[in-house]
Symmetry: C2
Subunit: 204 residues, 2 copies
């Protein structure tokens, strides 16, 4: 049993390394960055993936609007500068979680390639795994779903600069995983992600 809590403190010097943590919790950290239109299914996939990983014994943690916009980013609005800073901060938090050994599930529209590339770079500079998952869904399908009624409000002009309506969504140019969410089942999407994580030995 490798996750044994011993009752003795044995004194050793030195910082606990990334490798130490990986060995302790028997997994490697990675940031899974889900990008796509509002209503494309990012959160649904993240919740199902979190559950599937849990059932397999892996610790993951979801970062999403619920715990970010109301917390660390509550002092940010929706201006261009604030959106950029929003993604930058989430990228830095993801990096810390991944460094801690957690499988980090970040689901945010993150419409701009440049901002996503900055997050990728933040990870790669520290030798941490960053996986961009494009949750690809036709605007019509996302708008039809409209789980939060946001498209309706954007069409009425009640929300400005809404991605897909009056603000662009830049399609990922090199995502590690490409899911067609208006054609695939959530189960298949989760299986595809898990298969990829196994292949690159995040799940062993």
């Amino acid at each position: 049993m490798s996750y044994q809590k011993s009752t003795n403190v044995s004194w050793q010097d030195g910082k606990v390394s990334l490798q130490d943590r990986y060995k302790l919790i028997r997994q490697r950290g990675a940031t899974l960055w889900m990008t796509g239109l509002s209503g494309s299914g990012k959160s649904t996939i993240a919740i199902a993936l979190e559950r599937a990983l849990f059932e397999k014994g892996f610790l993951s943690y979801r970062l999403d609007g619920d715990n970010i916009r109301l917390g660390i980013n509550k002092n940010l609005g929706f201006s261009a500068a604030d959106r950029k800073e929003n993604i930058r901060r989430i990228g830095e938090v993801s990096k810390l979680f991944t460094d801690a050994g957690i499988i980090t599930l970040a689901s945010f529209i993150s419409p701009y390639q440049k901002d996503r590339d900055i997050v990728r770079e933040i990870h790669q500079q520290s030798g941490l795994v960053f996986i961009e998952i494009f949750v690809d869904c036709k605007l019509e399908s996302a708008e039809k779903r409209d789980p939060k009624g946001l498209y309706k409000r954007a069409r009425k002009g009640e929300i400005k600069n809404f991605t897909g309506i009056d603000d662009p969504y830049e399609t990922p140019s090199h995502p590690e995983i490409h899911l067609i969410s208006d054609r695939m089942s959530v189960e298949d999407e989760v299986e595809e992600i898990i298969k990829y994580l196994s292949e690159i030995e995040i799940l062993v």
Copy 2:
């Protein structure tokens, strides 16, 4: 073996809860907030504590100037407003880590009671454990140590608003743990923290 990675995905609905995560990694999350003067020994204690927890099979993660000031807070300076925002963001990150089930070791001077109380509140509002650890050290002792040569520079006026020199350090009014770092050994300090964590059943 409770931290078993199964090879089958069994489908279950619903979000993974805090309790689920605690069960999976067999520990409860908690934020251990180390506050004290520059040079009081906060980081030294955090590094030794991280090692001791690791040896006992517990996953902890250190947040400190190295990974925060160069990352998520790299766009903050040392004005009053920026210092407050610095602590607020660290508090929010600590909260997320603790929510994930990690024993979070945050070591920052954090000189103002009000800012520390905000961090405490952020945790308590979400039912998360926050433990304030006062790393108490006489100014003379900290200045004598001066591991980074900062006191020398502050005395010369090269650094303004330096805590203890020309900016106040507000002594914690209700810390859960009070360590006298210029009289205790690091080993004793770590033992005292571990004893406390056992008593409140963070370590079981």
